[in-house]
Symmetry: C2
Subunit: 169 residues, 2 copies
DNA sequence: TGGTCAATGTAATATTGTAACGTTTGTATG
DNA sequence: CATACAAACGTTACAATATTACATTGACCA
């Protein structure tokens, strides 16, 4: 399942679908998707790219929600806990998740050309981690993989066309 | 799989070895391991665990170096660029690298029990990323993998069996 | 000897994130 | 309904992390 997000698609549709899914999941779980939380998630879907906490806060504040940092951080905590949003540590930013239904680690391709970010899934990496856990006695919780590079659209433009993966050897 | 850092070992030895290696690599490359840079790296090796930038700065300042944030951030930028240090995004902290000689992505096991961090290597993950690059047209640059969990010592301990076979550096 | 460029030092400020505490709201229960 | 309780919310204040801008120093070399 390779990086959908670098392909063209219908934002409007994926946003409304995602919001519906979030509501439905919350109902199932008995989790409360309150107005601030819902709006914060929606903002992330509208942007469809990573947003900083303070970006989200700014909009929330103009819409009648609280204007102080804890407002947005608490909403994000909830959304992350529910799996609707991931934090991209490298960017100090937050991105709505494509597939909140399955519990998964966050894996991203981050384009340093256009600053778009695509979430991806990869079974081989999951297996490799399981193997590490088994071999070392380390009990794995949450894992995040953040890969910086150039997306297909940008890798032609920039000079460095090399495809050396540094994470290997 | 080599998660050395969770095993007992001789800090003094790995620190002096690492410093010698750094000096030698810089000489080769014509890079200038100036006093601040060298001392910052040494502090990371003395700690042998992730340190915040301001932790390092505090010590540097007491030792006669500059006392303002850019002092430490510039030193860290250099050390990271040379591959001597990795940033652990999740912790906003910096850790000296075991094996600066080979250009590699940063992969960590982060114990949320004792807060120790081990860098590790894994070929399968590198291969998986190369595959993704090939399949998606994404040109991979730097990648970081940060795995949170519990180290053998903290995970409740059923480690009587032979998982502790590793000898430290 | 003077030019120049990297490295350093400092002040000021920006950005990101938390702690603490009181108020409101939803909900279950007598 | 009354009321007790916990979750969620809002705000103030502050902590932690990082950057911009600019002046100074020092090494190198034409």
């Amino acid at each position: 399942m390779t990086s959908l997000a670098f392909a063209k698609h219908n934002h409007d549709r994926c946003r409304t679908d995602a919001m519906a899914e979030a509501r439905s999941i919350c109902k199932e779980r008995g989790a409360r998707l309150t107005p601030v939380r819902e709006r914060a998630l929606e903002l992330l879907w509208e942007a469809h790219r990573p947003l900083g906490a303070y970006d989200i806060l700014e909009t929330l504040a103009t819409e009648g929600f609280g204007s102080q940092p804890p407002v947005v951080y608490r909403a994000l905590d909830f959304l992350i806990e529910q799996g609707f949003v991931h934090k991209i540590e490298r960017l100090n930013a937050f991105l709505a998740c494509d597939c909140p239904a399955d519990d998964h680690g966050a894996k991203f391709l981050i384009c340093i050309g256009c600053e778009r970010v695509a979430e991806f899934e990869d079974k081989a990496i999951g297996k490799a981690l399981d193997k590490i856990a088994a071999g070392s006695g380390f009990a794995i919780g949450r894992a995040t993989l953040e890969v910086e590079g150039l997306c297909p659209d940008c890798s032609g433009v920039q000079s460095g066309s090399g495809t050396e993966s540094e994470i290997g050897d």
